[in-house]
Symmetry: C2
Subunit: 216 residues, 2 copies
DNA sequence: TAAAATTTTTAGATTAGTCTAAAATTATTA
DNA sequence: TAATAATTTTAGACTAATCTAAAAATTTTA
């Protein structure tokens, strides 16, 4: 088995890989709130274990076995988040830190039973897809509200920013997962957007429109 | 917060304290499968944090704050065991190792919500009492089957040996928590006992009789 | 109660993960 | 494309937890 720290590195590399092909030392350091020198040390260790492809100064990618571990951590994180919200009535902005701890519990039996206990949910409380017990999941194609033009519709299905502050803001605005929205107006000057949600007008900034994801 | 290791030391000292007033370095080393030298190092650290009372060569006791932490770990361990058996259908002999990991999840909010979700159970699957959110619990007075004389009755309420091997044996013999037993006969020679359970005769050794606990 | 046995502590190493400061490499830009 | 800037790695040190081997203290026993 791997240590918590190794698991956190693999998870961070996985998430960063979704945006840029190869991941840099500094990107990882920023994501994990640590120093580049520490990252270099750990990259050597993960490369020795053949969990990442690493060449000095060239950035890293996950090997298939590294990716498998990363996805299993993400599966655990998202299932625990679902459990916390659906069974223990936590709010969607309160679960991240606890799930960061729970995702390192090693038992596969536990997580598979938890999955079944909850009816094999496909999405976590923030709309992110939950990998199945084989690590498979489809990344549904979501686009930000900011990609819509006037009169287009969508269903709120995810967020790009997972911070409590953003989630609490959405909650207050009643912009929660599953709601149908329609773009009523786009402000040419600042690109802010007026949405129609359940016949109410909601005005959101360009930044919010960028971080709120919809399916069609 | 304390490290997993510190928590494990405090828990071990707590359990050992139930049998002998003061706990020795070697006892702790045996319980934690480590060496006496390692224990001495850790005892110094825990004493610095005022979690134990420690004087060289004299053994240790928990301070009130050390005991509080130990009990909170035990609360978490037992609640998770209850969850695993009652909600996820694990068997009572399969839950210990997973609970050893789960007991270190730090969120008090999580464990209090879990407690409520399950209806505030008072005993874990092995009959051990679960401390409430203030750390309070009564150690019900149990005695081993071996303390009974012929024709005395009792209700199976706990075990002294928590090993999988023993729990699986009890399961096979249908000697599970809640069953009423009556001593039919005690063998003078080897102190083995014949029990009457639901009108069936069950023959158990002295060792088993010593490790099976009943209330009256 | 002195010698022997046991227990406990100390001394000195080791491993994992981290850090700062300096050196090496790569990227940018003038 | 040479100088400058930014990134990345190396070197050396630190903390937490562990270990072995040896020394010190306590307990047992003869």
């Amino acid at each position: 088995m791997n240590t918590f720290t190794e698991e956190n590195y693999l998870k961070a590399i996985y998430h960063l890989s979704l945006q840029s092909e190869s991941v840099s030392t500094n990107q990882i350091a920023a994501a994990l709130n640590t120093k580049a020198a520490s990252v270099t040390d750990m990259l050597k260790k993960l490369a020795d274990k053949e969990l990442i492809n690493y060449a000095k100064y060239q950035g890293v990618t996950l090997t298939p076995s590294g990716e498998k571990i990363a996805i299993s951590i993400i599966r655990k994180h998202r299932l625990w988040e679902y459990f916390l919200v659906e069974k223990l009535n936590f709010k969607w902005d309160e679960v991240h830190d606890v799930a960061e701890e729970l995702e390192h519990i090693s038992s596969k039996e536990l997580i598979d039973r938890l999955d079944n206990f909850m009816g094999n949910p496909r999405y976590d409380p923030h709309g992110d897809p939950i990998p199945d017990s084989n690590g498979l999941f489809k990344t549904h194609e979501l686009k930000p509200v900011s990609a819509l033009t006037t009169n287009e519709k969508g269903i709120i299905s995810g967020v790009r920013d997972h911070s409590s502050a953003f989630l609490q803001y959405l909650e207050r605005m009643q912009l929660t997962i599953g709601k149908t929205i329609k773009v009523a107006e786009i402000n040419d000057y600042d690109h802010s957007v007026i949405l129609l949600v359940e016949d109410k007008k909601i005005h959101i900034s360009r930044e919010v429109a960028n971080n709120l994801l919809i399916s069609i």
